[in-house]
């Protein structure tokens, strides 16, 4: 069943899009990530122009994050105070990201930078998570207890000024690293079409030492607002959001996410992180292959403004 997308200006199979949305939605509900890091490359692999894929994804992620966050809201696993600080940083990052996006598009290097960012972030985060979760699983198998939290342990992050108390996370830390983390993910939201959960979740766990039970809910909570902001900026600035494509992906994604949340509850933290790590590395490998494999044709066409032609 082919459907013509008004902004992407191509016809694609609607059932394939629904299926992609559902599969990625399931995983995003399970792992508490926006799913953009999977869906954006999948869209690009299936022929959607990269600029349209990225911009449309920012809208799509809003929907999947809303339904995911609502599920966490009922379970009271969202730290709103922490989320608000992350959002404040995220909005600034997203605005910077859009500016950068336009500049890269103008000089014909947007697709390359998107791919490189995917390889860099997915590769780095995936490897770290694989090591950490593998070690944790190994320890558990050896019968040693796994300390999910080490209270009283301080890093340089805890010595920064402008401290704030985050009740639900049981944290008393500076807002600077929190807002900084928000800004970094906001930047990635705008350029990569991701929610930034794959950065946010590990950074909250390992750097900020937020308890695992509020990490996923809070991450989804902040993703909603940062991606919504990025989506509006993309609509105004790059005019690349295809709302028909977004709607199809949203419907698939939201349905998948509900089942993903249920599945995620049944798995242990280390197992969840190990699976996510493998998935992240697989996508990274596919994008890397696209960069290093000898292209079929050594020439590509774009319009003057950098859109694929």
């Amino acid at each position: 069943m082919e459907i013509y997308l008004p902004i992407a200006e191509i016809a694609v199979n609607m059932l394939m899009l629904l299926g992609m949305g559902a599969a990625v939605g399931f995983l995003s509900g399970m792992f508490g990530v926006g799913g953009g890091f999977l869906l954006t490359p999948l869209l690009i692999f299936s022929g959607i122009p990269p600029a349209v894929a990225v911009a449309t994804q920012t809208g799509q992620i809003v929907a999947s994050s809303v339904s995911g966050a609502l599920a966490h809201w009922r379970r009271k696993s969202i730290d709103v105070t922490l989320g608000v600080i992350l959002i404040a940083g995220g909005l600034i990052g997203a605005a910077l990201g859009i500016v950068l996006f336009r500049v890269l598009q103008g000089i014909g290097q947007l697709d390359l930078i998107i791919s490189l960012l995917y390889v860099f972030f997915l590769g780095g985060v995936g490897s770290l998570m694989l090591l950490e979760s593998g070690r944790a699983l190994f320890r558990r198998r050896m019968g040693r207890p796994v300390a999910s939290r080490r209270p009283g342990q301080h890093t340089w992050l805890h010595r920064l000024p402008v401290k704030m108390r985050f009740k639900r996370s049981k944290l008393y830390i500076s807002v600077l690293p929190v807002a900084g983390l928000g800004a970094l993910t906001g930047l990635l939201v705008a350029i990569m079409g991701v929610g930034g959960g794959f950065i946010m979740v590990p950074a909250m766990i390992y750097l900020l030492r937020v308890p695992t039970n509020v990490v996923i809910g809070t991450s989804l909570f902040q993703i909603i607002f940062v991606t919504a902001f990025a989506a509006v900026l993309h609509a105004v600035s790059t005019q690349s959001i295809d709302s028909v494509l977004a709607l199809i992906l949203m419907i698939g994604g939201v349905m998948g996410a509900q089942f993903g949340v249920q599945a995620g509850v049944k798995l242990r933290g280390e197992q969840l992180r190990l699976l996510l790590a493998l998935l992240v590395l697989a996508v990274c490998g596919r994008v890397l292959y696209g960069l290093v494999a000898t292209p079929e044709d050594f020439y590509v066409l774009t319009t003057m403004s950098g859109h694929a032609e």
């Binding site: 082919e2 809303v66 509006v232 977004a246 290093v292 066409l301 003057m304």
Partner: protein
């Protein structure tokens, strides 16, 4: 001055038309004046009909008529990038800009172009892959520009937006013909122009022009227009839709 130019043009025109003495003319019509793109658009085909008219004094051509239909889509500036390997990664290196390149270029004929007319005529009329005028805005050497030009043609052909079909014009009778014009799903919206050239014994006898529009209609057009005319409203509406779908999904699938 103007008169001199006009006289020169007239001389040239009469010279080029000399073998034919302007005895033939061609009329053509399209099955559709407007091609509408809707949500179920997966490409389409329109039909061009035409007839070669001959005045009473002209005798028929011994080898019959040949018909070449050239269709051009809306023009836009295109940049051709060459991929280069930098540290093992393929990146866009040198780029050459082509101004006002047609987004769509089809050459339909009843037999191979080189059998119909010589290169001089084809070049002058810009008929065919080799003679399509493409204006490169570049300081590069001629060979380099030629390589990039070939790449542009090749990429466009890969997208089915440039093509030459040597058997696409059906000569129903020696003077009556029809041609199917394929329009793939990835065509641009805008004005299209079809030039119908009639050849006889290697000489261009007559040319006629017809045009058609490719437009988005219905929901597709509404979305496209909103996105470009009211981008802020469009963005906010998309986000509102996302909130709605997300909330709906959460309510529908709620399990306690």
């Amino acid at each position: 001055m103007m008169r001199a130019v006009a006289a020169l043009v007239f001389c040239l025109a009469s010279f080029t038309a000399l073998p034919a003495a302007r005895a033939e003319s061609v009329i053509a019509a399209l099955s559709e004046k407007v091609v509408e793109i809707r949500s179920n658009f997966v490409g389409t085909e329109i039909v061009l009909f035409g007839s070669v008219e001959r005045d009473g004094e002209t005798v028929g051509r011994a080898h019959g008529y040949d018909v070449v239909v050239v269709i051009e889509g809306p023009r836009r500036d295109i940049v051709v990038w060459r991929k280069e390997r930098v540290a093992g990664i393929w990146v866009n290196g040198a780029g050459i800009e082509y101004r006002n390149a047609p987004s769509y270029y089809a050459v339909l004929s009843n037999r191979p172009l080189e059998e119909i007319a010589g290169p001089v005529v084809l070049r002058r009329k810009g008929i065919g892959r080799d003679y399509l005028p493409l204006e490169a805005a570049s300081e590069e050497s001629e060979e380099t520009v030629a390589v990039f030009r070939d790449a542009l043609l090749r990429r466009k052909e890969a997208q089915s937006l440039y093509f030459s079909h040597h058997d696409a014009v059906d000569m129903l009778t020696p003077s009556l013909f029809m041609a199917h014009i394929p329009l793939p799903a990835n065509i641009r919206t805008g004005g299209y122009r079809a030039q119908v050239h009639v050849f006889g014994d290697g000489a261009l006898l007559a040319t006629s022009r017809v045009g058609f529009w490719v437009i988005k209609t219905g929901f597709e057009a509404a979305v496209y227009d909103l996105a470009h005319r009211q981008p802020l409203v469009y963005g906010l509406a998309t986000v509102a839709m996302a909130f709605g779908v997300g909330w709906l999904g959460s309510v529908m699938f709620r399990r306690n």
